[in-house]
C-alpha cells in the first residue's frame, strides 16, 4: 500500500466510512471495495483531502446561491426564507443496462396509466370488468365529472410523470409512487448537473454520462405535439400560481429554458372560448399551457369558485379543443395510494404484459391468505387503511409497541376490507458528505424519474433526482424536511458516446459512435478513415 493511500484511509473523507449492515449500499460492497461502476469515481474522490473537499463543497453551495436556485419554506417560523436544496458532490451512478430495464418499466407504467385514465373518463371497461373497484375511483375527489366523455388532444393525460423509485435491500428497484399531477424537481436535476460540471469538470469529462440538458427542448416538443388542430406554430406558456409557490423557481426556470412566456392566471383571459395572453402588443392567442397549478385552482367557473390564481373559462376553452392543458385535469385519481395497489393489474389489463417494475407487495386483508400472513407477520409490515391519506391511521410494525400491535390486530380483524399491509421497505444508502462531521457517511436515497408522453413520442430523461435523507437514520427525503440531492449519472453503453480530445496543437477531434470528426487548421474531416473531408479549397 503506498503512502498516499494509507494517508487517505486515516485522514481522508472516505476513511471512516461505515457500511450499513442491514441496508443495501449503492457504492460499497465491502470496506474499501466499491461496485465496479463506482471504481473510477471512488479513486478520484480518494485523492481529495478533507480541506480540499470542504472547499469544493463551499463552491457548490455558492454555485446554487449564484444561480438563484432556492426554495421557500412554508412553516410559520421561517416564512419566506429562501433556502438552497443541499447538493452532494458524490454522484449516484446507474449502469447503462440497469437503466435500460428501468426505462422500459417506467414507460410501460406511464403508458398503462394513460390508458387507464382514458378508459375511466370514457367507457370504464376496467370498472365493468371489476378489475378495479368502482367505488375506489368514484370516491376520489380528484375524479372530475368535467373530464367525463372528453378526450384530450392526442389522447394524452399524463404528459409529464414523475415516477418515484427506491432500491430495496434485495437489490431490486420498486416503484413507490406515480406522480401524475405536477411532478416537480426537474430544475434541480438540471442545476445539479451544471454545478457538477462547474466544480468537478476535470473529473466529469472523463465519464460517459448521459446528458440531461435536452429536457426543456423535449418538454417543448411534447407540448407542441399536442397543440390544437390546425396550429402549426403553437404558442406555449408556463402557468404558475406565482412567486409565493415553493416551486416558483422551477416554473421560471422551465419557461426560460424552453424560451416560452411565464404567465400567471391574471395574464390570461378567455374570450369566445379561446385563451389569450395580455401582451404590450395586444392579445395573443395561447394554444398550449403547461400549468403548474392544481386542478382546484385552474378555473373558478368549473372548480373552486374563489380561486384568484386561475383563468375563468379555461376549462370550457379546453373542452372545445381550443387550448391544451398539461397535465390534463383530473389525473389525480390515478396516482392515489389506493389505486397504486392495482397498477400491476392495470398494466396487465391494458397492455397484456407482465409489469416490468415491481410494486411494493401489498397484502389486502380481505383475502384470506393475505389476512393470515398479515396477522402472523405484523411486526415486519406497515399496515395502512385504504381510504385515508396523509399518513393517518398507519402502523409501522417494527416501531410499534405490543399494545399498538394488539390494537391493530383487533382493528384489522373487525374490518378486513379497510386495511392493506406492505413490507417495510429498506431504502438503499449512498455515501454522502456530511457537513460538520466533514466526512462521507451512508444516507438513504430514492430516485425521482421524469417521463414525457406526447402525440407519437415518448421520452424518459436519462437521469433523475436522487433525493437524500441527510438526517442520520431518517427515511424522509423531502426538501422541506432536511433532504438533499445528488447528481444522477446514467452511464452510456460502452462504445456509444462522445469523446473530445485536443492534442496539444490547434487540432481538435471528437469521436461519436465510432466516427471521428477532426477540426483543425486543415479544415474539418469526418469518418473513421477519413472517408469524407471538407478541406479548405486549395489545401492539400
Amino acid at each position: 500500500m503506498d503512502a498516499a493511500l494509507r494517508q487517505n484511509q486515516s485522514n481522508g473523507i472516505l476513511g471512516n466510512y461505515q457500511i450499513p449492515p442491514q441496508f443495501l449500499d449503492e457504492v460499497f460492497m465491502a470496506p474499501g471495495q466499491v461496485h465496479p461502476h463506482y471504481q473510477a469515481v471512488y479513486q478520484q474522490f480518494q485523492e481529495f483531502s478533507k480541506e480540499d473537499f470542504k472547499e469544493l463543497n463551499e463552491h457548490a453551495k455558492m454555485s446554487f446561491f449564484n444561480q438563484g436556485i432556492t426554495f421557500s419554506v412554508y412553516s410559520d417560523k421561517s416564512k419566506g426564507v429562501e433556502r438552497i436544496f443541499p447538493f452532494d458532490l458524490f454522484p449516484r451512478i446507474i449502469p447503462a443496462q440497469e437503466w435500460a430495464h428501468l426505462e422500459e418499466g417506467i414507460i410501460q407504467r406511464c403508458v398503462a396509466l394513460n390508458l387507464f385514465m382514458q378508459d375511466i373518463y370514457s367507457k370504464q371497461h376496467i370498472l365493468r370488468d371489476k378489475v378495479v373497484p368502482a367505488e375506489l375511483i368514484f370516491s376520489s375527489k380528484n375524479y372530475l365529472k368535467a373530464m367525463l366523455d372528453f378526450k384530450p388532444i392526442g389522447g394524452i393525460y399524463n404528459h409529464i410523470s414523475g415516477t418515484d423509485l427506491i432500491k430495496h435491500s434485495d437489490g431490486q428497484y420498486y416503484v413507490l409512487e406515480d406522480n401524475l399531477r405536477c411532478p416537480s424537481g426537474i430544475s434541480y436535476v438540471l442545476s445539479n448537473r451544471v454545478a457538477m460540471k462547474r466544480i468537478l469538470f476535470q473529473m466529469f469529462r472523463q465519464f460517459n454520462v448521459s446528458t440531461v440538458q435536452e429536457y426543456p427542448q423535449e418538454l417543448l416538443a411534447t407540448m407542441q405535439s399536442v397543440a390544437p388542430k390546425g396550429i402549426d406554430a403553437p404558442t406555449c406558456v408556463v402557468l404558475t400560481p406565482g412567486v409565493y409557490n415553493s416551486a416558483y423557481f422551477e416554473h421560471a426556470f422551465l419557461a426560460l429554458t424552453m424560451g416560452v412566456p411565464l404567465v400567471e392566471g391574471r395574464d390570461l383571459y378567455v374570450e369566445k372560448n379561446f385563451v389569450y395572453m395580455k401582451t404590450i402588443n395586444g392579445p395573443k392567442r395561447v394554444d398550449v399551457v403547461y400549468r403548474r397549478l392544481d386542478d382546484d385552482f385552474l378555473d373558478p367557473m368549473a372548480f373552486k369558485p374563489d380561486s384568484m390564481l386561475g383563468v375563468p373559462g379555461i376549462m370550457a376553452a379546453y373542452k372545445k379543443g381550443n387550448v391544451n392543458l398539461l397535465n390534463a385535469p383530473g389525473t389525480g385519481f390515478a396516482d392515489d395510494k389506493a389505486v397504486y395497489t392495482y397498477v400491476p393489474d392495470i398494466i396487465r389489463y391494458y397492455l397484456q404484459q407482465e409489469p416490468i417494475l415491481n410494486n411494493v407487495h401489498t397484502y389486502r386483508c380481505e383475502k384470506d391468505d393475505d389476512f393470515k400472513y398479515v396477522l402472523e407477520n405484523m411486526a415486519n409490515l406497515v399496515i395502512k387503511p385504504v381510504d385515508e391519506s396523509g399518513g393517518y391511521g398507519i402502523l409501522i410494525g417494527n416501531k410499534a409497541t405490543k399494545e399498538q400491535l394488539a390494537e391493530f390486530k383487533t382493528l384489522v380483524t373487525e374490518n378486513r376490507r379497510k386495511y392493506i399491509a406492505q413490507p417495510i421497505m429498506n431504502l438503499s444508502m449512498h455515501a454522502t458528505f456530511i457537513e460538520g462531521e466533514d466526512q462521507f457517511e451512508p444516507r438513504h436515497v430514492d430516485l425521482r424519474t421524469f417521463t414525457l408522453l406526447g402525440k407519437d413520442r415518448q421520452f424518459v430523461l436519462k437521469g433523475g433526482l436522487s433525493r437524500v435523507a441527510l438526517k442520520k437514520g431518517s427515511l424522509i427525503v423531502n426538501s422541506s424536511q432536511g433532504g438533499g440531492s445528488k447528481d444522477t449519472w446514467v452511464m452510456m453503453e460502452n462504445g456509444a458516446g462522445m469523446f473530445m480530445h485536443q492534442n496539444g496543437s490547434t487540432e481538435q477531434s471528437m469521436t461519436m459512435d465510432g466516427q471521428t470528426m477532426t477540426m483543425g487548421p486543415q479544415g474539418m474531416s469526418i469518418g473513421t478513415e477519413g472517408t469524407m473531408s471538407m478541406g479548405k479549397p486549395g489545401a492539400e
Binding site: R128, K145, Y269, V270, E271, N273, M301, G313, A316
Partner: protein, 299 residues
C-alpha cells in the same frame, strides 16, 4: 295539449367601485327534451359584451361573457319562448318489486348512474340521522316510495329563506328543519340515494300563475329514476310531481353543477346583486310581465 310560456331571467348587479375586469357564466337557458321545445331565445346585457356558449359536463349550455370595459352596474337578461307538452306519469305495476330491485342493484346500471348515486357535501347524511329517515319497505315499489318521500320532506321542513344559504347541506337541513327549494331537494336526493335510487338535482322555472312556493326565483326540484319508466320529477317544496308547469333548465349531481350564475370580477368595493324571473303562459304574459319582474326581485 301544449302550453307556450315566456320565460324571463334577469339579474341586476351594482358595485361600489368600478369593476376593471369580469367574467360571468349563466346556466339559465331552458333545455330541450321530450316534453319541452325552446322556440326562441334572446340575450342582452348592459355592457353590450358578446356572449359565447359551451356545454357543461351534463350537456347543458352555459352562456359566458368577458369584459375589460370598466363598469359599476351590470344587467343581464335571458328571454325564451318555451313550448311545454303534456307529461306522462309512471304507472304502477309495470315491473315487480323484485325486477325493479334487480335493475337498481345491477353493476352496469350503477356505473351508468354513479353521478346520481354518490354522496358529497350537499347530499351526505350523517349516521346519527339515519334511524329517522324514511326507507323503502321490502314490498314497496320505487315509485310508491318516492311519493312517500316527497310528502315526508314536504312535511318535515318549513319553507324559510332566512336560516340557509347556497352552501347548506342536507345534514344542516335535517338539523334546522327549515330551508328553501334547494334544501328540500338536497334532502330528497340524499335519502333517495341511500335507497340506491339514482336521483338528480334539477334547476328550472315554475309557472307563476299557480302561486306555488319558490316560483318567484329559479326553482329547484329532484328527478329520480324509476325502473321500467325512466326519470320522473318530484317537487318536495310543494309536494307535487313535476308536470307541464315545470320548465327545466339543467340537472346535475347537486346544486354545485347547476348554480344559475357564477362570476369572477376584479374590483375593490362591495357589491349588491338581485335577480328575478318571470314565467307565464304566452297569452297572459304581455301585461303580467312588467309588474311581476319588479315585485319578484330578491335583494
Amino acid at each position: 295539449m301544449k302550453t307556450e310560456y315566456e320565460v324571463v331571467y334577469r339579474t341586476h348587479n351594482t358595485y361600489e367601485e368600478n369593476v376593471r375586469e369580469a367574467f360571468f357564466s349563466f346556466q339559465v337557458l331552458p333545455c330541450q327534451n321530450e316534453s319541452q321545445v325552446v322556440r326562441s331565445v334572446s340575450l342582452s346585457n348592459s355592457l353590450s359584451a358578446d356572449t359565447f356558449q359551451h356545454p357543461n359536463p351534463f350537456g347543458f349550455e352555459v352562456i359566458s361573457l368577458h369584459t375589460v370595459e370598466p363598469f359599476n352596474t351590470f344587467e343581464f337578461e335571458m328571454r325564451a319562448i318555451v313550448e311545454k307538452d303534456q307529461t306522462w306519469f309512471p304507472v304502477e305495476g309495470i315491473l315487480t318489486v323484485e325486477e325493479e330491485q334487480r335493475q337498481l342493484q345491477d353493476h352496469l346500471f350503477y356505473l351508468e348512474n354513479h353521478l346520481y348515486l354518490g354522496f358529497d357535501h350537499y347530499t351526505r347524511i350523517g349516521d346519527n340521522y339515519r334511524p329517522q329517515l324514511p326507507m323503502r319497505e321490502p314490498q314497496e315499489t320505487v315509485y310508491g316510495f318516492l311519493q312517500r318521500l316527497n310528502s315526508h320532506v314536504y312535511e318535515l321542513l318549513e319553507f324559510d329563506p332566512e336560516p340557509t344559504h347556497v352552501c347548506t347541506s342536507a345534514n344542516e337541513v335535517l338539523k334546522l328543519r327549515r330551508g328553501v327549494c334547494q334544501d328540500y331537494t338536497h334532502l330528497f336526493l340524499g335519502i333517495a340515494r341511500l335507497n340506491r335510487i339514482p336521483c338528480r338535482y334539477v334547476s328550472g322555472y315554475l309557472n307563476q300563475g299557480l302561486h306555488l312556493t319558490g316560483s318567484a326565483v329559479m326553482h329547484a326540484w329532484a328527478e329520480a329514476y324509476i325502473p321500467g319508466f325512466g326519470w320522473q320529477g318530484f317537487d318536495p317544496t310543494n309536494n307535487l310531481l313535476a308536470d307541464a308547469h315545470y320548465i327545466k333548465a339543467t340537472h346535475g349531481s347537486d346544486y354545485a353543477d347547476c348554480s344559475p350564475i357564477k362570476g369572477t370580477i376584479k374590483t375593490n368595493g362591495k357589491q349588491k346583486t338581485s335577480y328575478g324571473v318571470s314565467v307565464h303562459p304566452v297569452q297572459e304574459a304581455s301585461f303580467a310581465l312588467q309588474e311581476q319582474t319588479q315585485s319578484s326581485f330578491q335583494e
